[in-house]
Symmetry: C2
């Protein structure tokens, strides 16, 4: 028996739909959950159907980056020039970018892994450069500035170890032995735990540390600009 009303045609696949679904999956289950099969399933399709809209997984991730940084550009494009020159402008932009990235904790890892240069990232850098130029930076100093900021320009920074991550595992006996060899580290932890009792765990305020480092760099740059 053939019914009059055929199967409802799903909303068709689109490159954009694919990219946004990929972001949704990574948001929900982390980067490891983002596989071509799961992505297809999420879209009510088969894995190989994705390849018509996206050349492969690498290209998919390239696209994801574009969408993500595009979102950042949209946000940062809306913040008007704050008063006070280049420094508040750059600061506000970077912190806004960070806010977007905080909603996608997996994003830094993807950003770092790209080899291709994203157009949206270029746009972002161009905006930063514009603020610095307007603030009196030479191209040369602005160039140094971008390198000095590194990934911090986009709102994230790589921590070599995350005390909070290790804090929940059992306090290893070998690690206790090790602590004896680390006088300064243990001293630091002890003092800060003393100042702020109740939280040896999570005792690093990521946001405050990020802002501290950002301002440190921006202040240094401004000094160089003024000296030039």
């Amino acid at each position: 028996m053939t019914t009059e009303t055929g199967p409802v045609p799903r909303t068709p696949l689109t490159r954009d739909r694919v990219l946004r679904a990929a972001i949704a999956i990574a948001d929900g289950g982390g980067l490891g959950a983002l596989t071509m099969r799961r992505l297809a399933e999420h879209l009510g399709a088969e894995a190989m159907s994705l390849y018509y809209h996206v050349a492969g997984k690498e290209e998919l991730l390239d696209g994801v980056v574009d969408v993500l940084v595009g979102e950042i550009n949209e946000v940062t494009g809306r913040i008007g020039r704050p008063a006070g020159g280049w420094q508040p402008a750059v600061r506000a932009t970077v912190l806004a970018a960070r806010e977007v990235l905080l909603r996608h904790p997996w994003a830094p890892r993807v950003l770092e892994s790209r080899t291709r240069t994203s157009p949206e990232v270029l746009r972002y850098y161009d905006a930063l450069l514009g603020m610095m130029r307007a603030g009196g930076f030479s191209y040369d100093l602005a160039h140094h500035a971008l390198h000095a900021l590194g990934s911090r320009a986009l709102g994230f920074s790589q921590e070599l170890f995350d005390p909070a991550a290790g804090a929940d595992q059992p306090p290893d006996a070998a690690l206790a032995d090790l602590a004896a060899e680390l006088p300064h580290l243990t001293g630091m932890v002890r003092e800060i735990a003393h100042d702020d009792p109740g939280s040896t765990l999570g005792w690093c305020d990521d946001q405050a540390e990020f802002a501290f480092a950002l301002d440190l760099i921006l202040d240094g740059l401004d000094r160089l600009r003024a000296a030039a």
Copy 2:
């Protein structure tokens, strides 16, 4: 027929031998070349034999990090305290660490991907902390300092886009259109290419940029130390 001289017993597998072979493979063929099967083959063994010495691939990479940072600690432990206080000491240490990492271009990616806290990394941080403490840092400021340095403390930094990487691909027509939207970026490239003609490609001196950023941060920290 049984021969008197049996099959020569290969040098036995060892956790250390496994880790060092892993490093050798990554050095030679990149991180992608480092698979359990290839690693075993390199050692004249079967893949599953590795699992007696190493719990799994993640634990293998943890071990690789320990060996690598151990190498750094060995190198940086040998440099005597340079005259001039904490800043030259930290600077020399970080640059020495960088030199080691430059011999293993895949290492940053591994470092970043670890969740476990490496004992060797802790040792390294403790050494840095010691220099700062000796230079008059409070624990609080030293703590901020480590965060501000981030991955730069170990000698690498994440660049959001590597102009050299994209420089060899054909100058895309779409990218040419894009350039029109990026006045500051194109202006910067034009000027720097003018100052130093002959190399639009590879026009960023990574080593110089790294040192610039490092000094920028160290100078800023020293100012805070002096003000305290």
